[in-house]
């Protein structure tokens, strides 16, 4: 049953991922990415990483994907011919892909996988994470808000440069 669910989510992830890559229409790619993110969230759930799964849905599906779609929609006419993707620069691309795949496979074989039996009982991670944020890892937690502040200020500054010049 466990394996069946895993292959179901893996199939969703890989299948929609293939559509993202191979689709000629960029808007189909963007929407297909939704299912890829969803499949990855399902795999996180299977790995007992429930907080990560929620984060994946909240940020990637709820935020990044919307941003991506806006990005596609505001760059050009969506149903236009101009947005078709093509195949170009095959040689450098395949070299980079081969190098990346080689490194990934190397890491895959080197890594000492300490496999935990899937029947092992695991607790929900969210409450545990909350406790750790508030006690052991308080400083990184507060620094995260500073990082977000920097991102906010930076985004506002880049987007509204013209207005500050007028003032």
């Amino acid at each position: 049953m466990y394996d069946l669910i895993f292959y179901f989510f893996a199939l969703i992830t890989l299948g929609s991922g293939a559509v993202v890559v191979f689709s000629k229409n960029i808007i189909y790619s963007a929407f297909s990415l939704l299912f890829t993110f969803f499949g990855v969230a399902g795999i996180y759930v299977l790995l007992n990483a429930d907080f990560l799964a929620v984060t994946q849905l909240l940020i990637y599906v709820g935020g990044i994907l919307v941003l991506l779609l806006f990005g596609v929609m505001l760059t050009n006419k969506v149903i236009d011919v101009e947005l078709k993707t093509g195949t170009l620069q095959t040689v450098p691309a395949s070299m980079i892909v081969a190098a990346t795949a080689g490194v990934l496979c190397g890491v895959f074989y080197i890594t000492d996988w300490r496999i935990v039996p899937s029947t092992m009982e695991m607790n929900a991670t969210t409450a545990e994470l909350g406790n750790m944020f508030m006690t052991t890892w308080l400083l990184p937690f507060e620094i995260a808000s500073v990082v977000l502040l920097v991102a906010l200020v930076g985004a506002a500054m880049i987007a509204r440069k013209d207005k500050s010049m007028q003032n």
Binding site: Y2, K77, F141
Partner: protein, 134 residues
């Protein structure tokens, strides 16, 4: 462990099923006496002026970008909210510091005018629409 996710699975199935069934029921049993006005994009709204396939304003991108940043803030709120009672006032103050730092960014964005929805483009669009309606 997977049994905990059974309600989510049911929710998903009901959601997909409800959408499909309602759409199909409408298609099968609904009366089909349509005319040109009924088939228009907005039956009782503004007449469509031009193609909907056009560039959308960059302002949407700005809003989406700010949304993601506050979305990440919510992700940090979530593990705290789960054990809010255990952590008590100490956790509350810690979270207050977190929120206040982000609130500075919010104030900056507000003062900077990134949340304002005025600009040349929307003005011209509105005047165009008003003319058509009148």
């Amino acid at each position: 462990m997977l049994e905990q996710y059974l309600p989510i699975g049911f929710m998903l199935l009901i959601g997909i099923g409800f959408g499909l069934v309602m759409g199909k029921v409408n298609e099968w049993f609904g009366p089909k006496n349509s005319n040109e006005i009924k088939l228009s994009t907005y039956e009782s709204g503004m007449p469509p002026v031009r193609s909907a396939h056009e560039r959308i304003s960059v302002k949407f991108y700005m809003v989406a970008m700010l949304f993601i940043l506050f979305d990440i803030e919510v992700v940090f709120l979530y593990p705290w909210a789960v054990n809010f009672r255990e952590l008590g006032w100490f956790g509350f103050v810690e979270m207050l510091v977190f929120i206040v730092i982000l609130m500075l960014g919010f104030l900056y964005v507000w003062k900077k005018g990134a949340l304002e929805w005025t600009g040349e483009r929307t003005k011209t669009n509105n005047s165009l629409l008003n003319k058509k309606v009148v």
